[in-house]
Amino acid sequence: MLTLASKLKRDDGGKTGRASGASDSTHRVSIRDRLLTKEVSELEAHLPSTCKASFPDEDKLHHFQLAVSPDEGYYQSGRFQFEIDVPEAYNMVPPKVRCLTRIWHPNITENGEICLSLLREHSIDGTGWAPTRTLKDVVWGLNSLFTDLLNFDDPLNIDAAEHHLRDKEDFRNKVQDYVKHYAR
């Protein structure tokens, strides 16, 4: 099978590629893809036990899915799918991430928008995106949204946060209801 690593090596040898169209955009793609080749192997070597990454097309490391199956807390027994798209301008800009599984969560809307500081492109403090971060940081961040980074104080889904404040047991029931319907 043709892996991206071997494809990049071959392109390197051929320099001005036969099939390459606009050289400017292919250059920029290749910077991203070169970074991703390293980052994906680093990610696969350090994937949390609760995570599974899948690449539908091995030639497109910039598009993949992540399944998180928390083994503790409110979301235990659920399996939550994320879609990760890495833009061409990576790593000057962060990956774009959506949650594909409907979820009742203070930091994820029911439409799949996610509030995770390191995915923020412009931030005034040091918690936003920086080119020193890698896919590994993104995956560990998403995984932590179910444990350490679960944050009821600065919610994106305000209804979910207020629900938790009002009645923790009822909040737990609704979370598990959603898990039964959408996250198995």
Binding site: I31, H122, A130
Partner: protein, 110 residues
């Protein structure tokens, strides 16, 4: 190509460390912790943006075959990057991505 132990980097860190502690006399070699200096050196030796050694050309210049034009930039925080990599990043956020201090160029060179 893998020559990570360039003397100029070690020297520049020594000078900055001694000036920070206030004394302007020469530092004593007896106090020099070789192990600590080595790990500090390695950390600075790789551009944290494109992850290529700063003494080599950055990923972009390698791809575009412009190795000669690629220089290193040092910030006042003493972190170093390829000038190409850093000038792309400061357009978005004028901070050192490693220590979050405001980015002020200390020097540019090889």
């Amino acid at each position: 190509m893998d020559d990570g132990d360039e003397p100029p980097i070690v020297l520049s860190h020594n000078t900055s460390l001694s000036s920070k502690s206030g004394g302007d006399k020469m530092f004593s070699l007896k106090k020099w912790n070789a192990v600590a200096m080595w790990s500090w050196d390695v950390e600075c030796d790789t551009c944290a943006i494109c992850r290529v050694q700063v003494m080599d050309a950055c990923l972009r210049c390698q791809a575009e075959n412009k190795q000669e034009d690629c220089v290193v930039v040092w910030g006042e925080c003493n972190h170093s990057f390829h000038n190409c990599c850093m000038s792309l990043w400061v357009k978005q956020n004028n901070r050192c991505p490693l220590c979050q201090q405001d980015w002020v160029v200390q020097r540019i060179g090889k």
